[in-house]
Symmetry: C2
Subunit: 293 residues, 2 copies
DNA sequence: GATTATATATCAGTATATCCGATATATTAT
DNA sequence: ATAATATATCGGATATACTGATATATAATC
Protein backbone atom coordinates (compact mmCIF):
# COMPACT_ATOMS: atom_id res chain seq x y z
CA UNK A 1 0.00 0.00 0.00
CA UNK A 2 1.85 3.03 -1.21
CA UNK A 3 -0.73 5.67 -0.42
CA UNK A 4 -2.08 7.15 2.79
CA UNK A 5 -5.53 8.15 3.90
CA UNK A 6 -4.26 11.69 4.21
CA UNK A 7 -3.36 11.73 0.53
CA UNK A 8 -6.81 10.45 -0.22
CA UNK A 9 -8.34 13.28 1.75
CA UNK A 10 -6.30 15.82 -0.17
CA UNK A 11 -7.25 14.19 -3.44
CA UNK A 12 -10.94 14.28 -2.59
CA UNK A 13 -10.91 17.83 -1.27
CA UNK A 14 -8.99 19.07 -4.29
CA UNK A 15 -11.36 17.32 -6.67
CA UNK A 16 -14.19 18.94 -4.80
CA UNK A 17 -12.93 22.52 -4.65
CA UNK A 18 -10.86 22.41 -7.84
CA UNK A 19 -8.60 24.67 -5.79
CA UNK A 20 -5.68 23.40 -3.81
CA UNK A 21 -5.55 26.29 -1.37
CA UNK A 22 -9.16 25.96 -0.35
CA UNK A 23 -8.82 22.19 -0.20
CA UNK A 24 -5.86 22.63 2.12
CA UNK A 25 -7.80 25.07 4.25
CA UNK A 26 -10.72 22.66 4.55
CA UNK A 27 -8.32 20.03 5.86
CA UNK A 28 -6.63 22.46 8.24
CA UNK A 29 -3.26 22.13 6.60
CA UNK A 30 -0.94 24.44 4.70
CA UNK A 31 -1.17 24.84 0.97
CA UNK A 32 2.35 23.54 0.61
CA UNK A 33 1.54 20.38 2.51
CA UNK A 34 -1.47 19.74 0.31
CA UNK A 35 0.56 20.32 -2.81
CA UNK A 36 3.20 17.95 -1.53
CA UNK A 37 0.70 15.26 -0.59
CA UNK A 38 -0.92 15.34 -4.00
CA UNK A 39 2.35 15.22 -5.87
CA UNK A 40 3.58 12.46 -3.67
CA UNK A 41 0.50 10.41 -4.49
CA UNK A 42 1.02 10.98 -8.19
CA UNK A 43 4.74 10.33 -8.12
CA UNK A 44 4.47 7.12 -6.14
CA UNK A 45 2.38 5.68 -8.94
CA UNK A 46 4.15 7.69 -11.66
CA UNK A 47 0.90 9.02 -12.97
CA UNK A 48 -1.24 12.14 -13.01
CA UNK A 49 -4.61 12.65 -11.44
CA UNK A 50 -5.10 16.30 -12.31
CA UNK A 51 -4.41 18.40 -15.35
CA UNK A 52 -2.58 21.53 -14.32
CA UNK A 53 -4.00 24.08 -16.69
CA UNK A 54 -2.66 27.42 -15.57
CA UNK A 55 -3.31 27.65 -11.88
CA UNK A 56 -6.32 25.38 -12.03
CA UNK A 57 -6.31 21.75 -10.95
CA UNK A 58 -8.78 19.86 -13.05
CA UNK A 59 -9.41 16.14 -12.60
CA UNK A 60 -8.19 14.22 -15.62
CA UNK A 61 -9.60 10.94 -16.91
CA UNK A 62 -7.85 8.68 -14.45
CA UNK A 63 -8.56 11.04 -11.57
CA UNK A 64 -12.18 11.13 -12.55
CA UNK A 65 -12.47 7.37 -12.55
CA UNK A 66 -10.76 7.12 -9.18
CA UNK A 67 -12.90 9.65 -7.42
CA UNK A 68 -15.88 7.36 -6.66
CA UNK A 69 -13.55 4.74 -5.19
CA UNK A 70 -11.78 7.37 -3.12
CA UNK A 71 -15.01 8.82 -1.80
CA UNK A 72 -16.29 5.39 -0.93
CA UNK A 73 -13.02 4.55 0.78
CA UNK A 74 -13.11 7.69 2.90
CA UNK A 75 -16.74 7.16 3.88
CA UNK A 76 -15.83 3.75 5.14
CA UNK A 77 -12.79 5.07 6.92
CA UNK A 78 -15.05 7.57 8.67
CA UNK A 79 -17.38 4.82 9.67
CA UNK A 80 -14.50 2.69 10.88
CA UNK A 81 -13.30 5.55 13.02
CA UNK A 82 -16.73 6.14 14.48
CA UNK A 83 -17.03 2.46 15.26
CA UNK A 84 -13.64 2.60 16.97
CA UNK A 85 -14.86 5.49 19.07
CA UNK A 86 -17.83 3.30 19.93
CA UNK A 87 -20.25 5.98 18.90
CA UNK A 88 -22.18 3.27 17.11
CA UNK A 89 -24.35 4.71 14.42
CA UNK A 90 -23.66 8.38 14.06
CA UNK A 91 -22.37 10.81 11.57
CA UNK A 92 -23.90 13.30 9.25
CA UNK A 93 -26.53 12.73 6.66
CA UNK A 94 -27.22 15.28 3.97
CA UNK A 95 -30.62 14.77 2.43
CA UNK A 96 -31.88 16.72 -0.54
CA UNK A 97 -35.56 17.04 -1.38
CA UNK A 98 -37.73 19.03 -3.73
CA UNK A 99 -40.08 21.65 -2.38
CA UNK A 100 -43.18 19.48 -2.30
CA UNK A 101 -41.43 16.45 -0.82
CA UNK A 102 -39.34 18.53 1.54
CA UNK A 103 -42.23 20.46 3.02
CA UNK A 104 -44.84 17.75 3.24
CA UNK A 105 -43.50 14.21 2.96
CA UNK A 106 -40.08 14.35 4.54
CA UNK A 107 -40.85 16.28 7.70
CA UNK A 108 -42.65 13.43 9.49
CA UNK A 109 -39.94 11.01 8.32
CA UNK A 110 -37.23 13.24 9.73
CA UNK A 111 -39.13 13.46 13.00
CA UNK A 112 -39.30 9.68 13.18
CA UNK A 113 -35.65 9.29 12.19
CA UNK A 114 -34.43 11.76 14.79
CA UNK A 115 -36.33 9.86 17.47
CA UNK A 116 -34.85 6.53 16.35
CA UNK A 117 -31.28 7.71 15.74
CA UNK A 118 -30.63 10.81 17.82
CA UNK A 119 -26.88 10.53 17.26
CA UNK A 120 -27.14 11.14 13.53
CA UNK A 121 -26.88 14.73 12.51
CA UNK A 122 -29.37 15.06 9.69
CA UNK A 123 -29.60 18.06 7.41
CA UNK A 124 -32.28 18.77 4.83
CA UNK A 125 -31.55 20.76 1.70
CA UNK A 126 -34.53 21.88 -0.33
CA UNK A 127 -33.94 22.61 -4.01
CA UNK A 128 -35.25 21.68 -7.42
CA UNK A 129 -34.74 18.26 -8.96
CA UNK A 130 -31.87 19.25 -11.25
CA UNK A 131 -29.94 20.97 -8.51
CA UNK A 132 -30.38 18.05 -6.13
CA UNK A 133 -29.25 15.56 -8.77
CA UNK A 134 -26.19 17.67 -9.44
CA UNK A 135 -25.27 17.74 -5.79
CA UNK A 136 -25.76 14.00 -5.43
CA UNK A 137 -23.48 13.44 -8.42
CA UNK A 138 -20.88 15.69 -6.84
CA UNK A 139 -21.03 13.87 -3.50
CA UNK A 140 -22.43 16.93 -1.74
CA UNK A 141 -25.64 15.13 -0.80
CA UNK A 142 -25.90 11.56 0.45
CA UNK A 143 -29.33 11.04 -1.02
CA UNK A 144 -31.91 12.99 -2.99
CA UNK A 145 -35.67 12.64 -2.93
CA UNK A 146 -37.11 13.92 -6.17
CA UNK A 147 -40.37 14.08 -8.06
CA UNK A 148 -39.51 14.23 -11.72
CA UNK A 149 -37.62 11.87 -13.93
CA UNK A 150 -33.93 12.57 -14.08
CA UNK A 151 -31.39 10.27 -15.64
CA UNK A 152 -27.64 10.32 -15.34
CA UNK A 153 -25.01 7.64 -15.76
CA UNK A 154 -23.67 8.11 -12.23
CA UNK A 155 -27.08 8.06 -10.54
CA UNK A 156 -28.92 5.14 -9.09
CA UNK A 157 -32.64 5.88 -9.28
CA UNK A 158 -35.08 3.90 -7.17
CA UNK A 159 -38.86 4.42 -7.23
CA UNK A 160 -40.04 5.28 -3.76
CA UNK A 161 -43.70 6.09 -3.36
CA UNK A 162 -46.43 7.09 -5.75
CA UNK A 163 -48.24 10.36 -5.54
CA UNK A 164 -51.28 11.88 -7.20
CA UNK A 165 -51.99 15.34 -8.46
CA UNK A 166 -55.42 16.76 -7.67
CA UNK A 167 -57.27 19.53 -9.44
CA UNK A 168 -59.04 21.78 -6.94
CA UNK A 169 -61.02 24.99 -6.45
CA UNK A 170 -63.05 26.79 -3.78
CA UNK A 171 -66.45 25.40 -2.76
CA UNK A 172 -67.99 28.54 -4.28
CA UNK A 173 -66.47 27.99 -7.71
CA UNK A 174 -69.02 26.87 -10.37
CA UNK A 175 -66.91 23.72 -11.10
CA UNK A 176 -67.42 22.54 -7.52
CA UNK A 177 -70.96 21.52 -8.45
CA UNK A 178 -69.87 19.06 -11.15
CA UNK A 179 -69.23 15.41 -10.43
CA UNK A 180 -66.47 15.22 -13.04
CA UNK A 181 -64.68 17.67 -15.30
CA UNK A 182 -64.43 17.21 -19.06
CA UNK A 183 -61.50 18.27 -21.19
CA UNK A 184 -63.55 21.23 -22.43
CA UNK A 185 -64.01 22.47 -18.89
CA UNK A 186 -60.29 22.07 -18.18
CA UNK A 187 -59.55 24.23 -21.20
CA UNK A 188 -62.08 26.87 -20.16
CA UNK A 189 -60.64 27.26 -16.63
CA UNK A 190 -58.21 29.84 -15.31
CA UNK A 191 -55.22 27.86 -14.06
CA UNK A 192 -52.93 28.74 -11.20
CA UNK A 193 -49.87 26.51 -11.43
CA UNK A 194 -46.34 25.89 -10.23
CA UNK A 195 -43.63 27.31 -12.49
CA UNK A 196 -42.28 25.45 -15.50
CA UNK A 197 -39.37 23.24 -14.55
CA UNK A 198 -40.78 22.20 -11.20
CA UNK A 199 -41.57 18.54 -10.70
CA UNK A 200 -45.22 19.27 -10.01
CA UNK A 201 -45.57 21.27 -13.21
CA UNK A 202 -43.76 18.57 -15.17
CA UNK A 203 -46.26 15.99 -13.94
CA UNK A 204 -49.16 18.35 -14.64
CA UNK A 205 -47.98 18.93 -18.20
CA UNK A 206 -47.69 15.21 -18.77
CA UNK A 207 -51.21 14.63 -17.41
CA UNK A 208 -52.65 17.34 -19.66
CA UNK A 209 -50.95 15.96 -22.75
CA UNK A 210 -52.77 17.13 -25.89
CA UNK A 211 -54.52 20.01 -24.15
CA UNK A 212 -51.40 21.87 -23.19
CA UNK A 213 -51.47 24.55 -25.86
CA UNK A 214 -55.10 25.41 -25.17
CA UNK A 215 -54.87 25.77 -21.38
CA UNK A 216 -54.93 29.23 -19.91
CA UNK A 217 -52.19 29.62 -17.33
CA UNK A 218 -53.54 32.50 -15.37
CA UNK A 219 -50.78 32.66 -12.79
CA UNK A 220 -47.48 30.87 -12.12
CA UNK A 221 -46.19 30.74 -8.57
CA UNK A 222 -43.17 29.09 -7.05
CA UNK A 223 -44.74 27.89 -3.82
CA UNK A 224 -47.58 25.53 -3.17
CA UNK A 225 -48.84 27.59 -0.25
CA UNK A 226 -49.09 30.66 -2.46
CA UNK A 227 -51.05 28.71 -5.05
CA UNK A 228 -53.55 27.51 -2.45
CA UNK A 229 -53.95 31.05 -1.17
CA UNK A 230 -54.54 32.32 -4.71
CA UNK A 231 -57.14 29.65 -5.44
CA UNK A 232 -58.84 30.33 -2.11
CA UNK A 233 -58.99 33.98 -3.14
CA UNK A 234 -61.05 32.91 -6.15
CA UNK A 235 -58.43 33.64 -8.79
CA UNK A 236 -58.91 30.30 -10.57
CA UNK A 237 -58.41 26.54 -10.19
CA UNK A 238 -55.17 24.80 -9.24
CA UNK A 239 -53.44 21.47 -9.48
CA UNK A 240 -51.11 20.19 -6.80
CA UNK A 241 -50.04 17.00 -5.00
CA UNK A 242 -52.85 15.63 -2.87
CA UNK A 243 -50.49 15.50 0.09
CA UNK A 244 -50.21 19.29 0.07
CA UNK A 245 -54.00 19.67 0.03
CA UNK A 246 -55.14 17.32 2.79
CA UNK A 247 -55.47 20.14 5.33
CA UNK A 248 -57.37 22.48 3.04
CA UNK A 249 -59.77 19.72 2.01
CA UNK A 250 -60.55 18.73 5.60
CA UNK A 251 -61.04 22.37 6.59
CA UNK A 252 -63.33 22.76 3.62
CA UNK A 253 -61.60 25.84 2.28
CA UNK A 254 -60.85 23.97 -0.95
CA UNK A 255 -62.53 21.03 -2.68
CA UNK A 256 -61.11 18.38 -5.05
CA UNK A 257 -62.36 18.09 -8.62
CA UNK A 258 -62.59 14.73 -10.37
CA UNK A 259 -60.82 14.47 -13.71
CA UNK A 260 -61.31 10.81 -14.71
CA UNK A 261 -59.94 11.26 -18.25
CA UNK A 262 -56.52 12.27 -17.03
CA UNK A 263 -53.82 10.13 -15.40
CA UNK A 264 -52.66 12.17 -12.44
CA UNK A 265 -50.32 9.50 -11.00
CA UNK A 266 -46.68 10.23 -10.55
CA UNK A 267 -43.74 8.72 -8.76
CA UNK A 268 -41.30 9.91 -6.14
CA UNK A 269 -37.74 8.60 -6.41
CA UNK A 270 -34.61 8.11 -4.35
CA UNK A 271 -31.43 9.07 -6.07
CA UNK A 272 -27.94 8.20 -4.86
CA UNK A 273 -24.55 8.16 -6.48
CA UNK A 274 -24.11 4.71 -7.98
CA UNK A 275 -20.68 4.19 -6.52
CA UNK A 276 -21.24 5.78 -3.17
CA UNK A 277 -20.66 3.71 -0.08
CA UNK A 278 -23.91 3.25 1.80
CA UNK A 279 -23.05 4.20 5.33
CA UNK A 280 -25.04 2.64 8.13
CA UNK A 281 -26.74 6.00 8.65
CA UNK A 282 -27.80 6.13 5.03
CA UNK A 283 -29.10 2.58 5.17
CA UNK A 284 -31.15 3.42 8.24
CA UNK A 285 -32.55 6.51 6.54
CA UNK A 286 -33.74 4.51 3.57
CA UNK A 287 -35.28 1.90 5.85
CA UNK A 288 -36.99 4.66 7.75
CA UNK A 289 -38.35 6.21 4.54
CA UNK A 290 -39.69 2.91 3.36
CA UNK A 291 -41.09 2.04 6.76
CA UNK A 292 -43.05 5.26 7.04
CA UNK A 293 -44.55 4.88 3.59
CA UNK B 1 -8.44 10.39 10.56
CA UNK B 2 -6.24 9.13 13.33
CA UNK B 3 -5.41 5.73 11.90
CA UNK B 4 -3.33 4.56 8.98
CA UNK B 5 -3.80 1.88 6.38
CA UNK B 6 -0.69 0.18 7.73
CA UNK B 7 -2.32 -0.14 11.12
CA UNK B 8 -5.34 -1.64 9.44
CA UNK B 9 -3.14 -4.18 7.73
CA UNK B 10 -1.57 -5.15 11.02
CA UNK B 11 -4.98 -5.38 12.66
CA UNK B 12 -6.31 -7.62 9.91
CA UNK B 13 -3.25 -9.85 9.76
CA UNK B 14 -3.20 -10.25 13.52
CA UNK B 15 -6.90 -11.08 13.62
CA UNK B 16 -6.21 -13.63 10.93
CA UNK B 17 -3.20 -15.38 12.42
CA UNK B 18 -4.03 -14.72 16.07
CA UNK B 19 -0.28 -14.43 16.31
CA UNK B 20 1.55 -11.15 16.09
CA UNK B 21 4.86 -12.56 14.96
CA UNK B 22 3.39 -14.41 12.01
CA UNK B 23 1.25 -11.41 11.17
CA UNK B 24 4.36 -9.25 11.15
CA UNK B 25 6.15 -11.76 8.98
CA UNK B 26 3.29 -11.83 6.48
CA UNK B 27 3.57 -8.06 6.18
CA UNK B 28 7.35 -8.14 5.88
CA UNK B 29 7.92 -6.13 9.01
CA UNK B 30 9.50 -6.76 12.37
CA UNK B 31 7.50 -8.11 15.26
CA UNK B 32 8.22 -5.00 17.25
CA UNK B 33 6.88 -2.76 14.51
CA UNK B 34 3.68 -4.77 14.35
CA UNK B 35 3.29 -4.65 18.10
CA UNK B 36 3.83 -0.91 18.03
CA UNK B 37 1.38 -0.34 15.21
CA UNK B 38 -1.34 -2.27 16.98
CA UNK B 39 -0.82 -0.54 20.27
CA UNK B 40 -0.71 2.80 18.55
CA UNK B 41 -4.07 2.12 16.95
CA UNK B 42 -5.54 1.12 20.29
CA UNK B 43 -4.02 4.01 22.20
CA UNK B 44 -5.09 6.65 19.71
CA UNK B 45 -8.68 5.69 20.35
CA UNK B 46 -8.04 4.72 23.99
CA UNK B 47 -9.58 1.34 23.49
CA UNK B 48 -8.70 -2.33 23.06
CA UNK B 49 -9.20 -4.51 20.05
CA UNK B 50 -7.60 -7.67 21.35
CA UNK B 51 -7.65 -9.48 24.65
CA UNK B 52 -4.11 -10.33 25.65
CA UNK B 53 -4.57 -13.68 27.31
CA UNK B 54 -1.12 -14.94 28.03
CA UNK B 55 0.84 -14.67 24.85
CA UNK B 56 -2.24 -14.98 22.69
CA UNK B 57 -3.90 -12.06 20.94
CA UNK B 58 -7.59 -12.80 20.72
CA UNK B 59 -10.04 -10.40 19.10
CA UNK B 60 -12.39 -8.95 21.68
CA UNK B 61 -15.97 -7.79 21.06
CA UNK B 62 -15.10 -4.43 19.58
CA UNK B 63 -12.31 -5.90 17.49
CA UNK B 64 -14.66 -8.53 16.22
CA UNK B 65 -17.24 -6.00 15.15
CA UNK B 66 -14.58 -3.92 13.44
CA UNK B 67 -13.04 -6.69 11.42
CA UNK B 68 -15.58 -6.78 8.59
CA UNK B 69 -15.25 -3.03 8.11
CA UNK B 70 -11.48 -3.28 8.13
CA UNK B 71 -11.44 -6.10 5.60
CA UNK B 72 -13.80 -4.24 3.34
CA UNK B 73 -11.70 -1.11 3.67
CA UNK B 74 -8.52 -2.92 2.72
CA UNK B 75 -10.14 -4.65 -0.24
CA UNK B 76 -11.17 -1.28 -1.55
CA UNK B 77 -7.76 0.17 -0.88
CA UNK B 78 -6.29 -2.67 -2.95
CA UNK B 79 -8.69 -1.94 -5.73
CA UNK B 80 -7.90 1.75 -5.55
CA UNK B 81 -4.23 0.98 -5.85
CA UNK B 82 -4.78 -1.30 -8.81
CA UNK B 83 -6.87 1.37 -10.49
CA UNK B 84 -4.06 3.86 -9.86
CA UNK B 85 -1.65 1.50 -11.52
CA UNK B 86 -4.07 1.37 -14.40
CA UNK B 87 -4.17 -2.39 -14.31
CA UNK B 88 -7.92 -2.18 -14.63
CA UNK B 89 -9.56 -5.35 -13.45
CA UNK B 90 -7.02 -7.59 -11.86
CA UNK B 91 -6.19 -9.10 -8.54
CA UNK B 92 -6.67 -12.43 -6.92
CA UNK B 93 -9.84 -14.39 -6.52
CA UNK B 94 -10.07 -17.30 -4.15
CA UNK B 95 -12.98 -19.54 -4.98
CA UNK B 96 -14.05 -22.47 -2.85
CA UNK B 97 -16.15 -25.33 -4.17
CA UNK B 98 -17.29 -28.73 -3.03
CA UNK B 99 -16.00 -31.84 -4.74
CA UNK B 100 -18.92 -32.32 -7.09
CA UNK B 101 -19.15 -28.65 -8.06
CA UNK B 102 -15.41 -28.21 -8.21
CA UNK B 103 -14.76 -31.14 -10.50
CA UNK B 104 -17.71 -30.87 -12.83
CA UNK B 105 -19.49 -27.52 -12.77
CA UNK B 106 -16.80 -24.99 -12.05
CA UNK B 107 -14.13 -26.10 -14.47
CA UNK B 108 -15.86 -24.82 -17.62
CA UNK B 109 -16.73 -21.59 -15.80
CA UNK B 110 -13.12 -21.06 -14.82
CA UNK B 111 -12.08 -21.70 -18.40
CA UNK B 112 -14.52 -19.06 -19.61
CA UNK B 113 -13.50 -16.63 -16.87
CA UNK B 114 -9.82 -16.96 -17.62
CA UNK B 115 -10.47 -16.22 -21.26
CA UNK B 116 -12.53 -13.13 -20.39
CA UNK B 117 -10.31 -11.76 -17.62
CA UNK B 118 -6.79 -13.06 -18.08
CA UNK B 119 -5.41 -10.52 -15.61
CA UNK B 120 -7.28 -12.01 -12.68
CA UNK B 121 -5.39 -14.65 -10.80
CA UNK B 122 -8.02 -17.20 -9.90
CA UNK B 123 -7.50 -20.05 -7.48
CA UNK B 124 -9.84 -22.92 -6.77
CA UNK B 125 -9.98 -24.62 -3.39
CA UNK B 126 -11.91 -27.86 -3.17
CA UNK B 127 -13.23 -28.88 0.25
CA UNK B 128 -16.44 -29.87 1.95
CA UNK B 129 -19.28 -27.46 2.56
CA UNK B 130 -18.52 -26.83 6.22
CA UNK B 131 -14.87 -26.14 5.58
CA UNK B 132 -15.63 -23.77 2.75
CA UNK B 133 -18.19 -21.88 4.82
CA UNK B 134 -15.66 -21.55 7.60
CA UNK B 135 -13.07 -20.12 5.25
CA UNK B 136 -15.54 -17.68 3.75
CA UNK B 137 -16.47 -16.48 7.24
CA UNK B 138 -12.80 -16.03 8.03
CA UNK B 139 -12.14 -14.04 4.85
CA UNK B 140 -9.87 -16.73 3.47
CA UNK B 141 -12.10 -17.30 0.46
CA UNK B 142 -13.84 -14.63 -1.58
CA UNK B 143 -16.73 -16.85 -2.48
CA UNK B 144 -17.88 -20.40 -1.88
CA UNK B 145 -19.95 -22.63 -4.14
CA UNK B 146 -21.70 -25.25 -2.07
CA UNK B 147 -24.31 -27.94 -2.36
CA UNK B 148 -25.86 -28.35 1.04
CA UNK B 149 -27.71 -25.95 3.23
CA UNK B 150 -25.50 -24.06 5.60
CA UNK B 151 -26.62 -21.13 7.67
CA UNK B 152 -24.53 -18.61 9.55
CA UNK B 153 -25.20 -15.07 10.65
CA UNK B 154 -22.22 -13.68 8.76
CA UNK B 155 -22.99 -15.48 5.50
CA UNK B 156 -24.98 -14.27 2.58
CA UNK B 157 -26.45 -17.29 0.81
CA UNK B 158 -27.76 -16.98 -2.72
CA UNK B 159 -29.36 -19.85 -4.66
CA UNK B 160 -27.42 -20.42 -7.82
CA UNK B 161 -28.48 -23.32 -9.98
CA UNK B 162 -30.56 -26.40 -9.37
CA UNK B 163 -29.22 -29.89 -9.72
CA UNK B 164 -30.71 -33.36 -9.70
CA UNK B 165 -29.55 -36.62 -8.22
CA UNK B 166 -29.89 -39.71 -10.38
CA UNK B 167 -30.04 -43.34 -9.30
CA UNK B 168 -28.04 -45.51 -11.67
CA UNK B 169 -26.67 -49.00 -12.32
CA UNK B 170 -24.99 -51.02 -15.08
CA UNK B 171 -27.03 -52.04 -18.15
CA UNK B 172 -26.64 -55.64 -16.99
CA UNK B 173 -28.18 -55.04 -13.58
CA UNK B 174 -31.72 -56.52 -13.22
CA UNK B 175 -33.11 -53.06 -12.29
CA UNK B 176 -32.07 -51.72 -15.70
CA UNK B 177 -35.03 -53.54 -17.20
CA UNK B 178 -37.64 -51.70 -15.12
CA UNK B 179 -39.28 -48.48 -16.26
CA UNK B 180 -39.52 -47.14 -12.75
CA UNK B 181 -38.33 -48.24 -9.33
CA UNK B 182 -40.63 -48.61 -6.35
CA UNK B 183 -39.71 -47.92 -2.74
CA UNK B 184 -39.54 -51.67 -2.16
CA UNK B 185 -36.94 -52.06 -4.87
CA UNK B 186 -34.92 -49.17 -3.44
CA UNK B 187 -34.87 -50.91 -0.09
CA UNK B 188 -33.84 -54.22 -1.64
CA UNK B 189 -30.84 -52.73 -3.50
CA UNK B 190 -27.18 -52.68 -2.53
CA UNK B 191 -26.25 -49.02 -2.36
CA UNK B 192 -22.91 -47.45 -3.08
CA UNK B 193 -22.93 -43.90 -1.75
CA UNK B 194 -20.87 -40.85 -0.90
CA UNK B 195 -19.89 -40.61 2.75
CA UNK B 196 -22.14 -39.09 5.38
CA UNK B 197 -21.62 -35.37 5.68
CA UNK B 198 -21.03 -34.79 1.99
CA UNK B 199 -23.53 -32.57 0.21
CA UNK B 200 -24.48 -35.35 -2.18
CA UNK B 201 -25.20 -37.74 0.66
CA UNK B 202 -27.16 -35.08 2.52
CA UNK B 203 -29.39 -34.60 -0.54
CA UNK B 204 -29.71 -38.37 -0.99
CA UNK B 205 -30.78 -38.82 2.62
CA UNK B 206 -33.38 -36.09 2.25
CA UNK B 207 -34.72 -37.69 -0.93
CA UNK B 208 -34.97 -41.09 0.73
CA UNK B 209 -36.79 -39.71 3.74
CA UNK B 210 -38.76 -42.49 5.49
CA UNK B 211 -36.76 -45.29 3.93
CA UNK B 212 -33.44 -44.35 5.40
CA UNK B 213 -33.27 -46.93 8.16
CA UNK B 214 -34.13 -49.76 5.80
CA UNK B 215 -31.63 -48.97 3.06
CA UNK B 216 -28.57 -51.16 2.77
CA UNK B 217 -25.47 -49.04 2.39
CA UNK B 218 -23.14 -51.55 0.83
CA UNK B 219 -20.21 -49.23 0.38
CA UNK B 220 -19.33 -45.63 1.25
CA UNK B 221 -16.73 -43.85 -0.86
CA UNK B 222 -15.39 -40.32 -0.80
CA UNK B 223 -15.12 -39.76 -4.53
CA UNK B 224 -17.71 -39.76 -7.26
CA UNK B 225 -15.34 -41.42 -9.72
CA UNK B 226 -14.74 -44.26 -7.31
CA UNK B 227 -18.47 -44.77 -6.88
CA UNK B 228 -19.01 -44.96 -10.64
CA UNK B 229 -16.18 -47.47 -10.94
CA UNK B 230 -17.69 -49.58 -8.16
CA UNK B 231 -21.14 -49.56 -9.72
CA UNK B 232 -19.63 -50.40 -13.12
CA UNK B 233 -17.93 -53.34 -11.43
CA UNK B 234 -21.38 -54.62 -10.49
CA UNK B 235 -21.12 -54.05 -6.76
CA UNK B 236 -24.54 -52.37 -6.53
CA UNK B 237 -26.49 -49.26 -7.53
CA UNK B 238 -25.47 -45.68 -6.91
CA UNK B 239 -26.88 -42.21 -6.63
CA UNK B 240 -25.00 -39.09 -7.76
CA UNK B 241 -25.50 -35.72 -9.42
CA UNK B 242 -26.59 -36.08 -13.01
CA UNK B 243 -23.79 -33.74 -14.07
CA UNK B 244 -21.21 -36.28 -12.90
CA UNK B 245 -22.88 -39.05 -14.88
CA UNK B 246 -23.40 -37.49 -18.31
CA UNK B 247 -20.29 -39.15 -19.76
CA UNK B 248 -21.02 -42.60 -18.40
CA UNK B 249 -24.61 -42.46 -19.65
CA UNK B 250 -23.60 -41.43 -23.16
CA UNK B 251 -20.91 -44.13 -23.27
CA UNK B 252 -23.53 -46.62 -22.11
CA UNK B 253 -21.42 -47.98 -19.27
CA UNK B 254 -24.10 -46.90 -16.82
CA UNK B 255 -27.83 -46.31 -17.17
CA UNK B 256 -30.19 -44.03 -15.20
CA UNK B 257 -33.04 -45.46 -13.16
CA UNK B 258 -36.34 -43.61 -12.79
CA UNK B 259 -37.55 -43.04 -9.26
CA UNK B 260 -40.72 -40.98 -9.68
CA UNK B 261 -41.78 -41.20 -6.02
CA UNK B 262 -38.70 -39.39 -4.80
CA UNK B 263 -37.82 -35.71 -5.13
CA UNK B 264 -34.20 -35.71 -6.28
CA UNK B 265 -33.96 -31.94 -6.82
CA UNK B 266 -31.39 -29.95 -4.95
CA UNK B 267 -29.88 -26.50 -5.09
CA UNK B 268 -26.37 -25.14 -5.47
CA UNK B 269 -25.60 -21.92 -3.60
CA UNK B 270 -23.18 -19.02 -3.58
CA UNK B 271 -21.95 -18.01 -0.19
CA UNK B 272 -20.07 -14.81 0.58
CA UNK B 273 -19.33 -12.95 3.77
CA UNK B 274 -22.20 -10.53 4.32
CA UNK B 275 -19.98 -7.56 4.98
CA UNK B 276 -17.34 -8.27 2.42
CA UNK B 277 -16.60 -5.67 -0.21
CA UNK B 278 -17.47 -7.02 -3.63
CA UNK B 279 -14.40 -6.30 -5.68
CA UNK B 280 -14.83 -5.82 -9.39
CA UNK B 281 -13.18 -9.22 -9.90
CA UNK B 282 -15.70 -10.88 -7.61
CA UNK B 283 -18.58 -9.17 -9.38
CA UNK B 284 -17.31 -10.39 -12.73
CA UNK B 285 -16.97 -13.92 -11.40
CA UNK B 286 -20.57 -13.97 -10.24
CA UNK B 287 -21.73 -12.58 -13.57
CA UNK B 288 -19.71 -15.25 -15.30
CA UNK B 289 -21.23 -18.01 -13.14
CA UNK B 290 -24.72 -16.80 -13.83
CA UNK B 291 -24.05 -16.30 -17.50
CA UNK B 292 -22.75 -19.83 -17.99
CA UNK B 293 -25.70 -21.37 -16.19
C1' DG C 1 9.41 -27.56 39.77
C1' DA C 2 13.14 -26.32 36.74
C1' DT C 3 14.22 -25.63 31.99
C1' DT C 4 13.45 -24.60 27.36
C1' DA C 5 10.97 -22.74 23.59
C1' DT C 6 7.93 -19.40 22.06
C1' DA C 7 5.46 -14.83 22.20
C1' DT C 8 4.72 -10.21 23.21
C1' DA C 9 6.23 -5.67 25.07
C1' DT C 10 9.55 -2.15 25.50
C1' DC C 11 13.53 0.72 24.55
C1' DA C 12 17.07 3.26 21.95
C1' DG C 13 18.64 4.83 17.76
C1' DT C 14 17.87 5.87 12.98
C1' DA C 15 15.66 6.67 8.73
C1' DT C 16 11.76 8.51 6.75
C1' DA C 17 7.84 11.29 6.16
C1' DT C 18 5.02 15.23 7.10
C1' DC C 19 4.27 19.70 7.88
C1' DC C 20 4.96 24.79 8.10
C1' DG C 21 6.72 29.21 6.62
C1' DA C 22 8.99 31.59 3.23
C1' DT C 23 9.79 32.22 -1.41
C1' DA C 24 9.79 31.50 -6.41
C1' DT C 25 6.93 31.12 -10.32
C1' DA C 26 2.96 31.19 -13.14
C1' DT C 27 -1.69 32.83 -14.41
C1' DT C 28 -5.70 35.73 -14.35
C1' DA C 29 -7.86 40.15 -13.55
C1' DT C 30 -7.73 45.09 -13.53
C1' DA D 1 1.85 47.24 -16.65
C1' DT D 2 0.35 46.10 -12.18
C1' DA D 3 -2.01 43.77 -8.66
C1' DA D 4 -4.14 39.75 -7.00
C1' DT D 5 -4.38 34.98 -6.72
C1' DA D 6 -2.59 30.11 -7.17
C1' DT D 7 0.61 26.51 -7.32
C1' DA D 8 5.40 24.66 -6.79
C1' DT D 9 9.59 24.35 -4.32
C1' DC D 10 13.02 24.63 -0.58
C1' DG D 11 14.97 24.37 4.17
C1' DG D 12 14.33 23.18 8.69
C1' DA D 13 11.57 21.49 12.73
C1' DT D 14 8.83 17.79 14.30
C1' DA D 15 6.61 13.57 14.39
C1' DT D 16 6.32 8.89 12.93
C1' DA D 17 7.60 4.19 11.70
C1' DC D 18 10.95 0.96 11.58
C1' DT D 19 14.74 -2.30 13.10
C1' DG D 20 17.47 -4.81 16.40
C1' DA D 21 18.32 -5.88 20.99
C1' DT D 22 16.44 -6.92 25.25
C1' DA D 23 13.10 -7.67 28.97
C1' DT D 24 9.14 -10.14 30.31
C1' DA D 25 5.57 -13.43 30.29
C1' DT D 26 3.51 -17.90 29.09
C1' DA D 27 3.22 -22.63 27.53
C1' DA D 28 5.50 -26.97 26.91
C1' DT D 29 8.77 -30.49 28.33
C1' DC D 30 11.50 -33.10 31.19
Amino acid sequence: MKFTLRQLQVFIATAHYKNLSRAAESLAMSQSAASGALQDLEQRYSTQLFDRVGKRLQLNGLGHSLRPLAESLMSQADEFERALQQQDIAGKLNVGATLTIGNYVVIPIIAQFMRDYPAIDIRLHVANTAHIAEQVINYELDIGLIEGEYNHQDLSIVPWQSDELVVFCTPEHPYAAFDVLTDEQLVAANWILRESGSGTRQAFDRAMHGLLNELKTHLELEHTEAIKRAVEAGLGIGCLSKITLADAFSRGSLVPLEVPDRDMERQFYFITHKKKYWSVGLQRWIECCQGTT
